[in-house]
Structure formats: C-alpha cells, structure tokens
Symmetry: C2
Subunit: 259 residues, 2 copies
Amino acid sequence: MITSPGNSKVKYIRRLQSERRFRQREQAFVVEGTRWVSELAGLVTTAPINLFYTETWAKVPEHAAILHQLNAATQPVTEAVMAAMSDTDTPQGVLAVLPHLPRPLPPSPNLLLILDGISTPGNLGTMLRTAAAAGVDGVLLGPGSVDVYNPKVVRASMGALLRLPIHSLDWDEMATVTKHMSVWAAVVDEDARAYTAVSWQSPSALMIGGEAWGISDEGRRLATGCITIPIQADTESLNAAIATGIILFEAVRQRTPTY
Amino acid sequence: MITSPGNSKVKYIRRLQSERRFRQREQAFVVEGTRWVSELAGLVTTAPINLFYTETWAKVPEHAAILHQLNAATQPVTEAVMAAMSDTDTPQGVLAVLPHLPRPLPPSPNLLLILDGISTPGNLGTMLRTAAAAGVDGVLLGPGSVDVYNPKVVRASMGALLRLPIHSLDWDEMATVTKHMSVWAAVVDEDARAYTAVSWQSPSALMIGGEAWGISDEGRRLATGCITIPIQADTESLNAAIATGIILFEAVRQRTPTY
C-alpha cells in the first residue's frame, strides 16, 4: 500500500496529469474512474497497465470483479494518496496509467474528422466521443490542438480515445491522407453551402475549427469547399462540438439506406 | 465608485450568483462579460438594468460605446470589487443585474424543446444556445431541472436566455401546451425508431432527459413515442446536448424546402 503522497509513483502520476511534455516523453497517460477502468477491462490489450485503487473502492463487489478481470499491475493506495494522484476534486478511488496506444488509420478511410486548432479540452473530448458514436474511421488533429491525453480530454472522451485512430499530423501529412476524399470545412458564413446540400456518400472528411478562430488558412487550402449549418437569424453560432455532431450524423443519415 | 467588497450591492450580487432561492425571490439574475453586455445593448427593452464595470474595462473605446448605447444605471467598481461580484476566476470587468424576463410562448408553437431533469448547468446552457440557433418556439423545463438563471447556465447559453421563451412547467401544464403536437422522447434504445424516420413537419416537440437517468416516467407518459439516434456498436451514448443538436437540426432539415 502506498501511504505517502511523497512517494515517487505519486509524483510520476502528478506530472503525467499536468505536463503535456512529460506525457509525450513517457508515452503514457492517466485515466480515472470506474467507468474508464471497466472500459479497459473489456478491451483485449497486451499493453502494460498500472492501476491504483483505494480499499474503499475495491470493497464494492463489481469493482473487485473489474480488478480480477483486468490484466494489470495493481496497487492499493490511501485516500490521501489517491487525492494527490487525481486530477478531479472528488476522486472515485481508481486510476490507471496507460501507454499511448495509437491505432492505425485504415488504408482507405471513408469518413474522417479533422480538427483544426481545438483548444478547449472538454470540447475536444466531446468531439471524440461523438465521432466514435458516428463511426468515423479516424480523427486527424492539426497543429495547435490541445493534447488528446490531457486529463480533461480523456474524461470527456468517455473511452473514445481507446477505440478511435487519433493522429496528430502536419498539413502535408493531412493532404496525403485525404488525397482521395472530399474535405468539407465547416464555417460560420451564411453564403456557404448548407451541410445537407453536399453528398457525404463518397469518402469524405469533415473539418472543424476552434471556437475562437475557426478554420486556419492551411485548413482552408486543404478543403474541397466550405459548408455551414444554417441557423436562425440573430442567434449565436453553434458550439463547435454541437456542430460536429450535427454534420457527422447528417453524413451517417445519408449513408444509411434504411433511413 | 464602489471600493469595498463589503458594500451591500456586492453582497446582493454574490447572493444572486450563488442562491437559486434568492434569484427566485428577487426575480433577478446576473450576466457577465462584454459579449453578454453587448447583446443587451442590441435589445429593445424597458427592463431596469444595473451595470457594474471596472475603469480598465471602460477605457476600451468599444466598451465605452456599449455603455453609452445601453439604457442602464451604471456604476464603476474597483478590480477587487469586481472579483468579489464575479462568478468566474478571471472576470472580464463588466456585469449586469437583470430582472427575469420570461417571454411568452406563441399561441400555436410549431417546434418545442422539452427538457426533463437536466442537472448539468453547462449542458443546459449549451442546449438553450442550440435551441435558439435551431429556431425553436420555446423551451419547456420539467420538474427537477437546474435553474436557468444559474450563472453557469447563463454563461453557456450565450444570450439565448434573452431570446427564447423558457418556461418551467409541471407535467399537467406541459400536457396542455403540447396537446396538438407530437412529442418525441429521445432514448438510448436501439429498438426505438430512428429520429430520422419520424416526420418533424407537423407541430412537434423533442423531449430530452438528463444524462444520468434519461426520461422520467411522467415524461414517457406525455410522449407520443420514443426515438433514438442510432450509433456505432460498442460506443458510449451521445452527450445530451449533442443529441439535442442532432435531432433539432434534423427537424430543421425536414422543414426547410430548399435542403
């Protein structure tokens, strides 16, 4: 049992939680909470997982079952140590350290999400969760994005991080991956084509910009064209994660024959 | 200039920020930030507005123009007083106290959003912003909802609070308002009808439940039927605000002849 918040493992986890560069150097990140850990238990993976839990957490029979099912090095810690390790104000009593596990993109992706400069962690996490639910083949992150392994992104992504191929690419790499696809840049411009007026049935990528600045110049150069979601006059534009959901599920609608 | 955080106006505003009952008793709420205040300046209203600002904020010419345009009682405060009044960690330097201004529902609403037990303020605010952009005629809040005048809801709603008729109703009142409408309850159930398979062209209401518990028994009794957003197998269900956006904009799509 780890009892001291000064323990070197506690310090290691705190750095993984707070420092993007350290996560990059260690090629590791932290996931927290029962839901995340039970997601892990359902995955077939040979990746080394280090799991830390409080005795209160492990007393719940369902939690003990997760511990038993999971192929991980486990270690009990005190409540104080868990609080020191956790990124949240109210830790659930379990967290795990995982290696970065980037899944490869399929050779001919049919539907991709390109995120250009998303800087709000909660928004990025929600976009990943939404993209996984829509069944995209992968997510490409352009330069200037918040780190996908940021604890707030991990929290909001609800497991999508483990399921989706997510790759940080520069614009040249992005052009290579999307060579045979239509790339539609979502903009706030009432003169752009409606997102419902383009065909999503051929291989397509949706590009979404950050809330503050929208699509970058490089993003616009890569795009086949611009699309917009027509909204009621005199209202605020949509949140970028909401726009992502609306357009991706229009693509799903157009691709689903029974709809 | 108010210079003391102990000033009675500061205390009044702090209570409005933190106490739902106090907001209810006073029939007032607080909006913060330049964007919100410039929204107010664009509205024609005879409502009494009390505005507080720091001198740093008012020095910016665009801000001075807002102050000039706005029909409000204005009062400068020190940075420390603004910090005490504000609900945010990094106050922008301007906030206003407004009376509750419920807009009436139109007599024959064509598209409504019914929210059943939404307890996350940020999610509720995003739903209101999305509903305004989709052009709904109003939002009905069932019992158990977080207060729409909660500062986090106000912040995320981005002005939708001023534009939309938003009414807290009990289930009997809700039944009366939606008497001549189809009411579709969004559920997580792969056997329910797809949201794209029902017609949104006649008067319709979309009912969304809270993330934790979904639609209540009373909500289900009111509903004409259940609908769902089909998602990729083995992924987490969608965030409730994302689901709201996807379904409302499917209604807009079906109602827009040029799409």
